[in-house]
């Protein structure tokens, strides 16, 4: 049975086909609005994430399906000490497909080992968040019209920022892309990601601590939030939080056709004044995300329309 745990579970061709399907849904949503009738999506969120959960639920409802689930561990049996394996085994008897988010890395692998239905990883700690990456990829294809030959700047928390790791993994599979790794010293991209997906593939890259120095060269600026929950130490969080903020002023140096992306939620790393800039794509990303989740649900449920 197919699951989606990591973006690399999908080949480039599979991702392209998913994006084609998402395009088709966007072009004619009515064609799909009963395609998952009588199917149930369970959204098991052991850690709160309103945006991702609502995106999944909206996707399933737009396909004519139904949803059930919980939005935090406190309202699930895990609060009583039930294992992930047992929860998933039980819920897979009540649903046709499961989207799960869990604070522990690798929890969806256990889910996939025990589920009787497809499992979608909706985020496992600081590890993977493949449907965010699918949303990112569709945004890039729609907004820029290509997946290759791009100068991609990733900025902020590159150490714990799982969306950045997955984006680099995914975009390193397309030709002629270059990466600009923009972060403070403490939040640099981990060596294993850099080695495996950039250096070993001979992909050009530049590491810098200054957004201003490279913003003019970029096709994509992918901003990330410095997340409180990834730090053990409040002092470190407060010190690094404000390091890399995108302002109207900095946008003046950016190219006219550059796009600004962000996995959201934003705290203060992009000034709200930037929102009205036509290059700001982060709210569109959430819409693309819903369509990609619709396409993914159809694929994993093997529904042909």
């Amino acid at each position: 049975m197919a699951n989606l745990i990591n973006i690399l579970d999908l080949s480039v061709e599979e991702i392209d086909r998913l994006m084609d399907l998402a395009d088709d849904i966007m072009a004619d949503p009515e064609k799909y609005n009963e395609s998952c009738k009588h199917k149930i999506l369970a959204t098991l969120f052991f850690e709160p994430s309103t945006r991702t959960r609502l995106s999944f639920e909206s996707a399933m409802l737009s396909l004519g399906g139904e949803v059930l689930g919980f939005s935090e561990a406190a309202s699930s049996s895990s609060a009583k000490g039930e294992s992930v394996a047992d929860t998933i085994t039980v819920v897979s008897g009540y649903s046709d497909i499961i989207a799960m988010r869990h604070p522990k890395e690798g929890a969806p692998v256990i889910g996939a080992e025990h589920a009787l239905v497809p499992i979608i990883n909706a985020g496992d700690g600081g590890h993977y968040h493949p449907t965010q990456t699918l949303a990112d990829l569709l945004t890039i294809r729609h907004e820029l019209g290509r997946m290759s030959g791009l100068k991609i700047g990733v900025c902020g928390d590159l150490k714990f920022g799982r969306t950045v790791h997955s984006l680099i993994e995914a975009m390193s599979r397309y030709d002629d892309n270059e990466f600009y790794l923009i972060s403070p010293e403490e939040l640099k991209l981990p060596g294993f990601v850099k080695n495996e997906y950039i250096i070993d593939k001979n992909i050009p890259y530049k590491e810098t601590g200054s957004l201003e120095d490279c913003i003019g060269e970029l096709d994509i600026l992918y901003m990330t939030r410095v997340q409180r929950e990834r730090f053990f130490n409040e002092e470190d969080y407060l010190r690094l939080r404000d390091c890399f903020i995108l302002t109207e002023e900095k946008m003046k140096d950016a190219r006219e056709d550059m796009i600004v992306m962000h996995p959201l939620p934003r705290v203060n790393e992009i000034q709200t004044a930037v929102d009205k800039d036509k290059r700001a794509c982060y709210f569109k990303q959430t819409v693309y995300g819903k369509y990609m989740r619709m396409a993914l649900i159809l694929k994993l449920l093997e529904v042909e329309v």
Binding site: A85, H102, K104, E105, G106, V109, I110, G125, G126, H127
Partner: protein, 137 residues
């Protein structure tokens, strides 16, 4: 001490010189209630020096653990004073409950009765990663 002197047991041979004690501790041979001999710096035609461990008794040896510590070693199994099998050890693709994930954010730190499984992700770097969280072993 000769192989012949063991009636039923194992000889772990061709251990890289200096790694014998690592393997001894890794396999927890100190906990065995049987004679165990450690020969360090023995002559080797191939490498000059090698370590050898002899275990005089029947016990379940974790071959994967030997492959993890020293993939160049060999294991000879002796029964009734005769060599019944000589096995060349290779790096195992999968390690189960040989090493343990130390990442506090990994699901293995909280899930009940979960086995710790690592996959060989880079043979040239002898690199194993947890199948759940991808942390290095």
């Amino acid at each position: 001490m000769n192989i012949d002197s063991i009636q039923n047991g194992f000889v772990i041979d061709h251990i890289q010189a200096g790694k014998g004690m690592d393997l001894y501790h890794f396999l927890e041979l100190d906990k065995l209630d049987m004679p165990v001999a450690m020969i360090m710096g023995a002559f080797s035609r191939k490498t000059g020096k090698k370590d050898i461990i002899k275990i005089d008794g029947e016990v379940d040896i974790n071959i994967d653990a030997i492959g993890y510590v020293d993939p160049g070693a060999t294991v000879t199994i002796i029964k009734n004073g005769q060599i019944v099998e000589k096995r060349k050890i290779e790096e195992p693709e999968i390690l189960t409950d040989v090493i343990y994930c130390k990442n506090p954010r990994c699901i293995t730190s909280t899930e009940q009765e979960i086995r710790h499984v690592f996959r060989l992700t880079d043979k040239s770097r002898h690199e194993y990663r947890c199948i759940y969280c991808d942390a290095r072993g």
